[in-house]
């Protein structure tokens, strides 16, 4: 019991992770910045991304000029770019040798 009460004051306790509270602050800042930047993302950013992605993809594939889905999604505190676009027709691939 006494041990348990004392633990937080020891080296491994709150506020003294292996390299002090700095790594906790770093992690929290990282998350807060991501969260804010996600909330504040301007529609023009998504629009620019859409244009550029379509340009690159159509160099390789014949695709429709609209994304079926294009957004940055938040899952379990992480961020994912989720994009899907319909392929109009598949090219004849260079033969696999």
């Amino acid at each position: 019991m006494l041990n348990k009460l004392r633990r937080p004051r020891s080296r491994e306790g709150v506020g003294s992770s292996p390299d002090g509270s700095r790594s906790i602050a770093r992690e929290r800042l990282h998350n807060a910045l991501n969260r804010d930047r996600y909330d504040l993302m301007a529609p023009e950013v998504v629009e620019a991304l859409r244009r550029d992605l379509l340009n690159v993809i159509s160099r390789h594939l014949d695709v429709e000029d609209q994304f079926h889905e294009l957004e940055i999604q938040r899952m379990d505190g992480a961020f994912y770019l989720v994009a899907s676009v319909r392929v109009s027709s598949l090219p004849r691939w260079a033969a696999v040798s």
């Binding site: 509270s21 700095r22 602050a25 770093r26 800042l29 990282h30 910045l33 804010d36 930047r37």
Partner: protein
């Protein structure tokens, strides 16, 4: 002659904008430039007391904008540096009583006669902030190495970029090198990493700064003060000198360490 207007901003309050404005203004004047520092924190004026000029105010920023006085009448000459002038904020009005165009006109006029116009911005991201960044060609963001201040700094960087003030530079103020060394404070590399911003300089937390401010003297005049030395280097960088960034180190002397361990952290710092 065409001067340059620089805004000192932060988002969060109390991180050292006014202190930085006073010291950069004095620093540039010490380097031989003609400088005006402009307090745009209408309703909460502070730059006058930080510079020790509070007893000399007759007219203020709103008076000159509303043409109740001439521009020259609103400028208070510094006690120590004849080429440094302050235009104080109005105390009895609020931030919405002027607009960005009026302030920009004023700065364009000042740029004809002065090398640098340094604008002390109010905290927040509302009208007062918009007014203050309007005339600026460059922006300097002040932060402390704490999560809340850095988060606000990031937000402000986004707003500055959206207003075509690209590549603002960051001053990290109130660093405690001893805490950084112990791993109990974010350091320069963490901040560069997460905010992706250029660092203009680092200023240690410094008791001598408080002592100087108590007397209405910008700490840059105190040659022994680590924070004053840091502001000198920052000023040189603003002025185009290539002064390398040094990591702040806790002072090495035994007595300093003893003092530091006892919590009397008078000199927990050296260079910046």
């Amino acid at each position: 002659m065409k001067g340059k207007t620089i805004v000192i901003t932060s988002g969060k309050g109390g991180v050292g904008k006014t202190t930085t404005t006073a010291n950069i203004g004095a620093g540039l004047a010490l380097r031989g430039h003609r400088v005006v520092v402009l307090d745009t924190d209408i309703g909460l004026r502070n730059l006058d007391v930080v510079m020790g000029l509070e007893n000399r105010i007759v007219y203020d920023l709103v008076d000159v904008i509303e043409e109740r006085c001439k521009l020259s009448q609103s400028m208070i000459r510094d006690k120590h540096l004849p080429e440094l002038y302050l235009i104080p904020a109005a105390q009895t009005r609020d931030k919405n009583c002027i607009n960005s165009e009026q302030l920009t006109d004023l700065c364009r006029k000042l740029e004809q006669e002065f090398d640098y116009i340094i604008i002390d911005c109010p905290a927040g991201i509302e009208q007062g902030f918009r007014n203050a960044i309007g005339p600026a060609q460059e922006a300097i963001i002040v932060t402390t190495p704490e999560v809340s201040a850095l988060r606000d700094a990031d937000r402000v960087i986004g707003l500055l970029e959206a207003s075509e003030l690209h590549r603002p530079r960051l001053i990290i103020n109130r660093i405690r090198p001893g805490m950084v060394k112990r791993g109990d404070m974010l350091d320069k590399d963490d901040i560069v990493d997460l905010l992706a911003v250029d660092i203009l300089g680092m200023v240690p937390a410094d008791d001598r700064l408080i002592t100087a401010t108590n007397q209405g003297i910008p700490v840059i005049h105190d040659k022994k003060a680590p924070s004053g030395q840091a502001f000198s280097r920052i000023t040189a960088r603003i002025d185009g000198d290539d002064v390398p960034l040094m990591d702040l180190e806790p002072k090495g002397g035994l007595m300093d360490r003893v003092r530091y361990l006892m919590g009397i952290n008078r000199s927990e710092y050296t260079h910046a």
